[in-house]
């Protein structure tokens, strides 16, 4: 019993310690943002690697999720004779929750783990030490463009996910199940509001981008310089980032709705 309490306390302290280190790491990134030179080239490269290369998975999954929503939504609404509100159901679900959250989870798996693995491998092959010896701050050169790109990319991917999802809902609802297209669109447009829903959705995606970006780069940067270490860091990114996204989703939703 006492060992359990001891371990719990130890675990809690380690958690707080890690949180502190993450905060310090984030401060270094912030400082790097305002230090010249500005690494535009690298930033654009990362936008490509994290954003463009994630397009396929985001759009395909967006379409699929929208189609499922269309189906499930139709079946449930049919019970109440309210199928012309399908657009509203699909739209609100996607915009408020599924768009930002699922996009963040997918991006964690694809882009987040790739980032961690890339940085971790650079640690293992002494490339980061090599940079230090050439008087170049590895946080400035390697970490910051990646983190910044993740933040920039998340709202874009989320918006695309939602649009594809709306289309998927349209495909199933209107083409398949026979909902009137005008009703779909008008119930969608009247239910979804810019300030409450769309803006909140984009900000949520931005916050998730910050979380995933920081966690993925931190884990890569602090990974043990062995292949086992890189692998452990990569899985840790996926787990920690996913959980953080879901938990912060609750807090963001609660606060935004106030």
């Amino acid at each position: 019993m006492t060992t359990f309490v001891h371990d719990l306390g130890w675990g809690a302290m380690r958690f707080i310690d890690e949180l502190g280190k993450l905060a310090i790491f984030s401060a270094r990134i912030l400082r790097a943002l305002i230090t010249p030179p500005i690494r535009v080239r690298l930033f654009v490269d990362e936008l490509f690697k994290l954003g463009v290369l994630s397009l396929v998975i985001i759009c395909v999954c967006g379409l699929a999720v929208g189609m499922v929503l269309g189906l499930q939504g139709y079946n449930t609404l049919a019970r109440f004779g309210a199928t012309e509100s399908l657009g509203a159901v699909v739209g609100l679900s996607l915009v408020r929750e599924l768009g930002p959250v699922l996009t963040a989870l997918l991006a964690t798996g694809r882009a987040g783990s790739a980032t961690t693995a890339e940085i971790g491998t650079m640690v293992a092959t002494e490339q980061l030490d090599g940079l230090r010896m050439m008087s170049v701050d590895p946080v400035h050169l390697v970490v910051t463009p990646k983190a910044l790109a993740m933040i920039a990319v998340m709202p874009i991917l989320s918006a695309l996910f939602i649009v594809f999802g709306l289309f998927g809902g349209y495909l199933v609802g209107v083409q398949l199940m026979g909902v009137d297209p005008g009703s779909y669109v008008s119930s969608l447009e009247s239910a979804v509001e810019f300030t409450d829903d769309v803006l909140g959705s984009l900000l949520k995606a931005l916050v998730f981008g910050v979380l995933v970006g920081l966690i993925a780069t931190y884990r890569g940067y602090t990974s043990a310089p062995t292949s086992a270490g890189v692998s452990a860091a990569t899985t840790s990114t996926v787990v920690v980032a996913s959980v953080s996204v879901l938990i912060s989703d609750y807090f963001f939703t609660a606060l935004w709705g106030v």
Binding site: V52, P155, I162
Partner: protein
């Protein structure tokens, strides 16, 4: 630092697509307006649950949306309307709050009048018909039925 220009192009497309999606969601779906429409307002005794962003309709065609609903100094509901800028509405146009179907959402329907002079931006639509509250209607019906039963004749 040689990177392929294709990459840059794709990144540019990506950003454009994203901004396009954001714009679509904000304006078309979310109803973000640049405020450049024809702004009119009307005062009602009862809005019956009319919501902001509800459509404003002429002859069944959507021509704008409800911007805001506030209480004016006479404790009537002031409904601000944002309409298409090209509309020419006579000064005796009527604004009514009606329901889509029996139990559906409320919206504003405009009935054109016959005057030559048209409403200018910021003008008030003076002829209004408030929303019909179903419960009151039923209440009245019951009240009338009771009066009839008690032999007091019909009331309006």
């Amino acid at each position: 630092m040689s990177r392929s220009p294709t990459r840059d192009f794709l990144v540019g497309l990506f950003v454009l697509a994203g901004l396009g999606a954001v714009a679509y969601l904000s304006v078309n779906v979310g109803g973000l307006s640049s405020g450049g429409g024809l702004h009119l307002f009307a005062a009602f005794d009862q809005t019956g649950g009319l919501k902001p962003r509800a459509p404003v309709v002429i002859s069944g065609v959507k021509v704008g949306q409800v911007n805001a609903i506030t209480l004016d100094q006479n404790y009537r509901a002031r409904v601000d309307l944002d309409l298409e800028p090209t509309l020419a509405l006579p000064v005796d146009t009527t604004a009514s709050i009606v329901t889509a179907g029996v139990l559906g959402d409320r919206y504003v329907s405009l009935q054109l009048g016959g005057e030559e002079a048209t409403l200018k931006p910021g003008d008030e639509i003076t002829f209004t018909e408030s929303a019909v509250i179903l419960e009151r209607l039923i209440g009245k019906l019951i009240h009338n039925t009771d009066l009839e039963k008690n032999g007091e004749g019909s009331t309006k």
